[in-house]
């Protein structure tokens, strides 16, 4: 599974992307988030306040209950801030 991080999520975890084997017992985004917190350091910090973290699976916005499979592309990022004034 490819995991991508953007904006301050990238800065907090310290990497832009990584390959992760879907951890045993993890079936959805919420489960992956809980597993991320157990990695400690920047990961624990990045995934603590999930109200300001958004998720995409295979480049589509999803919520925490979205199911995951090995081979998915998962991205974590802050709420988006593009566009004009």
């Amino acid at each position: 599974m490819k995991v991508l991080y953007f904006a301050w999520m990238r800065e907090r975890v310290g990497i832009a992307e990584e390959d992760v084997e879907l951890p045993a017992g993890v079936t959805d985004v919420a489960g992956l988030v809980e597993w991320m917190k157990t990695r400690g350091g920047g990961f624990q910090n990045a995934f603590t306040e999930m109200t300001v973290v958004r998720t995409a699976v295979n480049q589509v916005h999803v919520d925490l209950s979205h199911p995951l499979e090995n081979g998915d592309e998962v991205a974590f990022f802050p709420p988006v801030t593009g566009g004009g004034a």
Binding site: A56, Q59, F77, P78, T81, G82, G83
Partner: protein
């Protein structure tokens, strides 16, 4: 049509090109929105900003937003152009163009497109002030503007 680029754009040339593409569509209304980088005021004043995005998803999400607008209004043509990289106050950042037979569809669709673009397309602004860089936080008012189209 969607485009993501670091280079600046020529809004006049883009409008002319759209008018030509619409030559046989009987489009009587062409609406444009240009977003410009603001300097801000006082302690919030910025010297520059850098736009990061999610290559791949950005294009998919912009195409989905265009498709949604085309489903809601009878549009002859759509252009959503968003810049990335480093920009300074006064720079153009985004261009939305819509064309339709009558004005109402093009005006409403342009507002819809920019509202949805701001809350759904994966772009993130980092603002640089005199001494530091900070990530721009999403605004509740932008969410409210997008939600009115739900």
């Amino acid at each position: 049509m969607i485009r993501v680029q670091t280079e600046d754009f020529d809004a006049g040339a883009e409008i002319d090109a759209m008018r030509e593409r619409c030559a046989d569509a009987d489009a009587g209304g062409l609406c444009s929105f240009i977003g410009v980088v603001r300097a801000g005021e006082g302690a919030d004043q910025i010297t520059s900003m850098t736009l990061e995005h999610y290559p791949g998803m950005t294009e998919k999400e912009m195409a989905r937003i265009e498709a949604e607008a085309r489903q809601r209004w009878p549009l002859a043509d759509v252009l959503i152009l968003h810049r990335t990289g480093r920009l300074v106050p006064g720079d153009q950042i985004v261009l939305v163009l819509t064309a339709s037979r009558h004005r109402k569809a093009s005006l409403a669709a342009a507002e819809f497109l920019i509202d949805w673009l701001k809350t759904k397309a994966p772009f993130w602004k980092s603002e640089e002030t005199a001494g530091e860089a900070r990530w721009v936080a999403a605004r509740a008012s932008d969410e409210e503007a997008a939600a009115k189209w739900d």
